[in-house]
């Protein structure tokens, strides 16, 4: 029954927490006559407008976080679609009509640059209209433009549709049910325009219009949307509630595959109505500022890099050994054959390009085969790092939204028991019920084209400084990294390397160099002694050893005057002591480098001159590698420091990570745009001296005293030099008025140091020391050398607080 549009009263709007001045009725011409919509509009003024399109059964209320939180730089206009919200009730609309209406509204009511935001079934409407509205950016929240292959129609939608009249019109079940998916405080507002069956007619029609198959009237329009999306080359944000039973993670994977350059913010504990999640407006504002300022940089020429898969063909049939570990050796030919079979098996099991696969295989030949198989499917390996601990591992794997898991019978059982990969298909190199056997497949795998912009892997930081983070790499960055590493490791043209970091074995096919993996547990680098290293190499001429300081220390201390010729040894994970460098030089009779880098960006410097320091203390990490832009920023703002001062180090390279996986917020927090180039905040502090990058520790470890900030390393170095023992400097007290406390390494618990220890520390220190303690220094799992000064500071604070 037709009904004119009617805006809610100011009192109603205020009761819902909306600004009454936002509410407007807008009449515009369409091909089939004039249409009147109710909109929430923050008002003209800003040149750029965010046009928001709700889904079903919601209305413009859904965008209140954006209306309130986006700030003064953007105008936000949230519409109520025809037959929805407070807009007019007239004839039923199909998708194509809705698209045309949105285009008509956008072209008549708005001008200036436009950003489209859409949720739920508003997604196809907005994307369909994008072809005509030419947005400068796109924001999609829990939506879809196509049903991913192998995914059933969301059962809730199917159920609503089969009894559409009962569920959607005659009873408020669908409206209420949807409103239940968010905070109680939003429920009243969400159901307000849908109180009677007449008001809900549009809801039912909307559900009936959802195309479920080729015969449905809107199927063609939906397919058109998918085409439009594929052609939209604008910054795109996928804002995703991870607890959505309707548009679940499979739909996110589908969108990610369609828009490879999209930035993703997946909120693990938010449901379907994700635009109502707090912080949405603030994040969109920050994201837009950056996305419009420094769009995803794909350097010219990078697109042509393709992916590492392109290089595999050259090794077909090669019997050259690519990997040798405690469990055996693997040749190129074996890798290619076995990964082809595994890829075909995965494809047969439904793995689609862009989907994520949890790699629950311990470092081994099988890990290499499985990773290459996943790459060949165009899918993304999520490389689980067991050294982070089981709890961390579960959190990271769950958050990655993996739809497949490859493991051993044991790891798969553990993953299932812990609900680490809920709903994922399981695969392994074994025959076990419910597990796809990757050793057998019918025929070769389908070839999948992979571009530089496609995600190559999700890996995890060590968690040495805060919780472990998931880091996403694109294929282009991986190839750029290959070039940088090749030069650094001296492996141009092949060769062999060994490493104490088990996960680095995956670099073997990337570098096209042989990896020799020592027989140690992944989380015990300090068990890598001289004899283990010698038997790992067993006469093979390695060009390079890439070791954690703990492993190097174990080798050096068990060498007993013996030599192990290695031309280049790389020590990763600062700080590196000069004694360790000298000891390794003696053992390897080669060059020892301490390059600087991190999971997000590796490598950054060449590691030369590790024994040098600079005028402000610290240790040299070598010269910047070609292609790296490094800036030193003040700690309290983003200005560059004056020459000769220290500050936070920020970097930009072609082989930087793409961002923290599915967390635009984290990525933005760790990004600063300088001269139009996005730089990664490394969280490290240091300075440049005579072309060398000098490292002064972590930003999180800076001591903020009344006299100014002090870098932990600069405080510790002169004391360690005199004492000959490892010490950690921590700040106790509120930032800005902290006092310096020195902890001297000692096997016992944390306690006040006796005078014979205390007095030399104070005498050696260049700054005033309030207290000297002795105790164990907590170190990270992965390197077993990075001191967790934040934990130490907390413990020292508790001790010195008294009780």
């Amino acid at each position: 029954m037709p009904q004119a549009a009617q805006a809610p009263s100011a009192i109603e709007l205020e009761a819902m927490g909306l600004d009454p001045t936002w509410s407007k009725l807008v009449t515009f011409e369409t091909a089939s006559g004039p249409v009147t919509w109710h909109v929430l509009d923050t008002g003209a003024g800003p040149t750029t407008t965010v046009l928001c399109v709700h889904g079903n059964p919601t209305w413009s209320y859904l965008w209140r976080e954006l209306l309130e939180g986006l700030g003064p730089n953007y105008r936000v206009v949230a519409v109520d679609q025809s037959n929805m919200g407070y807009s007019e009730r007239s004839h039923p609309r199909i998708l194509a009509e809705r698209i045309d209406e949105l285009i008509a509204f956008g072209t008549t009511y708005l001008d200036g640059p436009l950003i489209l935001a859409a949720h739920d079934w508003g997604g196809p409407v907005a994307v369909g209209a994008a072809a005509a509205l030419n947005p400068v950016a796109l924001i999609l929240a829990n939506t879809a433009v196509a049903k991913p292959k192998g995914v059933a129609v969301p059962p809730l939608i199917a159920a609503a549709r089969s009894v559409v009249d009962l569920s959607c019109r005659r009873t408020p079940a669908f409206v209420r049910g949807t409103a239940q998916m968010t905070d109680a405080r939003h429920r009243r507002g969400l159901v307000a325009p849908y109180r009677t069956p007449e008001r809900r007619e549009g809801v039912a029609q909307f559900v009936a219009d959802i195309p479920l198959g080729p015969g449905d009237p809107s199927q063609a329009a939906l397919e058109h949307c998918a085409e439009v999306l594929a052609g939209l080359d604008v910054p795109t944000l996928l804002w995703w509630g991870g607890k959505d039973p309707v548009f679940h993670d499979r739909f996110l994977s589908d969108l990610r595959r369609r828009v490879p350059h999209a930035d993703v913010e997946r909120l693990g504990d938010v449901g379907h109505l994700s635009p109502l999640a707090s912080g949405f407006g603030d994040l969109v504002g920050r994201w837009l500022d950056q996305a419009l300022l420094a769009p995803h940089g794909v350097a010219p020429g990078e697109l042509e890099l393709g992916s590492i898969l392109d290089r595999f063909a050259a090794h077909a049939g090669s019997t050259e050994v690519l990997y040798r570990g405690p469990e055996g050796a693997l040749s190129w030919a074996e890798l290619l054959d076995r990964s082809a079979t595994a890829a075909a098996a995965l494809q047969a099991a439904g793995l689609e390009p862009g989907e994520r696969v949890a790699m629950l295989v311990p470092p081994s030949i099988e890990l290499l085969v499985a990773t290459c198989a996943v790459w060949r499917c165009g899918a993304v390996p999520v490389v689980a790092d067991a050294s982070a601990g089981l709890g961390q591992l579960r959190r990271l794997v769950r958050a990655a939204g993996t739809t497949y898991a490859i493991g051993t019978p044991v790891t798969l059982r553990v993953a299932q028991a812990l609900r680490m990969v809920p709903g994922a298909s399981l695969a392994g190199f074994c025959s076990s019920p419910g597990v796809v056997d990757l050793r057998h497949a019918e025929g070769p795998p389908m070839t999948v084209a992979t571009s530089s912009m496609d995600l190559a892997a999700v890996v995890h930081t060590s968690g040495a400084t805060g919780p472990a983070k998931a880091v996403a790499y694109r294929h282009g960055a991986l190839l750029a990294q290959r070039t940088a590493l090749e030069d650094l490791l001296g492996l141009s043209g092949g060769g062999a390397f060994t490493t104490s970091f088990a996960a680095f074995m995956l670099l073997a096919p990337v570098l096209e160099a042989r990896c020799l993996r020592p027989d140690i547990e992944v989380d015990a680098p300090s068990t890598l002694d001289f004899d283990t290293m010698a038997s790992t190499l067993s006469g093979d001429a390695v060009g390079c050893a890439w070791l954690s300081p703990a492993a190097a220390a174990a080798i050096a201390s068990s060498a007993l005057g013996r030599h192990l010729p290695i031309p280049t040894t790389l020590l990763a994970g600062a700080p590196i002591s000069s004694t360790l460098v000298q000891a390794m030089e003696a053992v390897t009779q080669g060059e020892v480098l301490a390059p600087w880098g991190m999971t997000e960006c590796l490598p950054i410097t060449d590691g030369t001159a590790p024994l040098l320091s600079g005028p402000l203390g610290g240790s040299s990490t070598g010269a910047l590698l070609p292609g790296v832009s490094l800036k030193v920023l003040e700690l309290d703002d983003d200005r560059e420091v004056q020459a000769g001062s220290w500050g936070e180090l920020v970097v930009a390279t072609a082989w930087s990570f793409d961002g923290y996986d599915q967390s635009v917020r984290r990525t933005l927090d760790a990004t600063v745009v300088l001269d139009g180039v996005a730089h990664h905040r490394t969280g490290d502090v240091g300075y440049l001296d005579d072309g060398l990058v000098i490292h002064l520790g972590r930003r999180a470890h800076v001591l903020f005293t009344p006299e100014g900030p002090l870098a932990s390393v600069a405080v510790e170095q002169p004391i360690e030099l005199v004492l000959g023992r490892r010490v950690a400097a921590v700040g106790v007290g509120p930032k800005g008025t902290q006092v310096v406390v020195i902890v001297v390494e000692d096997p016992g618990g944390l306690a006040l140091a006796p005078a014979p220890t205390r007095d030399p520390v104070r005498a050696a220190s260049t700054v005033s020391v309030a207290a000297v303690l002795t105790g164990r220094l907590p170190v990270d799992h992965r390197h077993q050398s990075k001191i967790d000064r934040a934990a130490l500071a907390a413990a020292a604070t508790t001790l010195l607080e008294g009780r």
């Binding site: 006040l752 207290a771 604070t797 008294g802």
Partner: protein
């Protein structure tokens, strides 16, 4: 300028008088008994308002240090000297510049103070000295009619100090020195000459820094040490090498409360308040104080200990 100084016989009082005279100010002391030979000493009882008023009549500014400091004074005595005496000084100032010397303990709530700013004087416990000092500070802040700078010097010590150093040496010699939890609490102190220069700076800011008026400012060296180290170094300055005994902090608190109840007459060896004060950290954010006073400690704790050792070699305490 001519400055009326109350409490001039204390360790800090002597240092303030010296610092003022050194720079050419005329110091008029106000005290109960004629101590020195200086004709500028005015004798009177601080609880007697007319006496204070007449002593101040020809002065340009006042510095109020006098207080009854004792572990367990009678409440009437504490109230008379610390509250009534302060009110009398404020009234006598009559709008002239005044530096009121308070104590950081007036904000003590039994919790550690780590880098804390000066909190309001809300002490509600039953330590009579602190209670009376809290009331006095609130009175000054509420009733000031002229430029008033309120300073809370924290743990003032130095050569000639009988309060802190005297007691530690005495206890140590009696074998009664006990530290809570091995003396792990981080505590800031103020070397006496630094406290004196802060008082002088406070006086000067009465004339040129309205932002410093009418708000309590904690004054300390800004370089804390653990209680264990403070005690050890004071003892070593006096040539003692005694290893103090340790006792769990909560036990010491209970002991203090018990002593207070059992000692009907005289000074108990420990009060609950003192036990708590020694058990938790006490150090303060000095940025605002230094900024507003335009002052920074010149001697500091390390040089302070060196001076103490030189002094101790020729003077036993008491």
């Amino acid at each position: 300028m001519r400055v009326l100084l109350t409490g001039a016989t204390s360790c800090l009082g002597r240092a303030v008088a010296q610092a003022l005279r050194d720079r050419g100010d005329e110091v008029v002391t106000f005290q109960r008994h004629r101590a020195g030979r200086a004709p500028s000493d005015r004798v009177g009882d601080i609880t007697n308002a007319p006496a204070v008023r007449s002593a101040a009549v020809d002065c340009d500014a006042l510095v109020h240090l006098a207080a009854l400091v004792a572990p367990r004074p009678r409440w009437s005595a504490a109230y008379q000297t610390n509250v009534v005496g302060t009110a009398n000084v404020l009234e006598a100032a009559a709008g002239r510049p005044l530096v009121h010397v308070s104590s950081p303990s007036v904000a003590f709530g039994g919790h550690p103070a780590t880098g804390e700013v000066a909190l309001p004087a809300r002490y509600q416990g039953h330590d009579r000295y602190t209670r009376s000092k809290a009331i006095a500070e609130r009175w000054v802040l509420d009733h000031a009619t002229g430029p008033v700078v309120v300073l809370r010097p924290h743990l003032v010590w130095g050569p000639g100090d009988t309060q802190l150093i005297g007691r530690i040496i005495e206890r140590a010699d009696q074998g009664r020195l006990v530290l809570p939890d091995r003396g792990r609490a981080l505590i800031d102190t103020t070397y006496v000459d630094d406290a004196a220069s802060a008082v002088v700076a406070g006086l000067d800011r009465c004339f040129d820094q309205p932002a410093a008026w009418g708000r309590p400012l904690v004054v300390s060296g800004g370089d804390p040490r653990t209680l264990a180290e403070l005690v050890e170094r004071i003892l070593s300055a006096y040539g003692r090498t005694i290893e103090p005994r340790t006792i769990p902090a909560p036990v010491l608190g209970v002991l203090g409360a018990t002593f207070e109840r059992l000692w009907l007459r005289g000074e108990p060896p420990l009060t609950h308040f003192a036990a708590r004060q020694l058990s938790v950290a006490h150090w303060f954010d000095q940025r605002q104080t230094r900024d507003l006073l335009g002052w920074a400690p010149r001697v500091g704790i390390e040089e302070g200990f060196a001076r103490l050792a030189r002094y101790a070699s020729s003077n036993e305490p008491r």
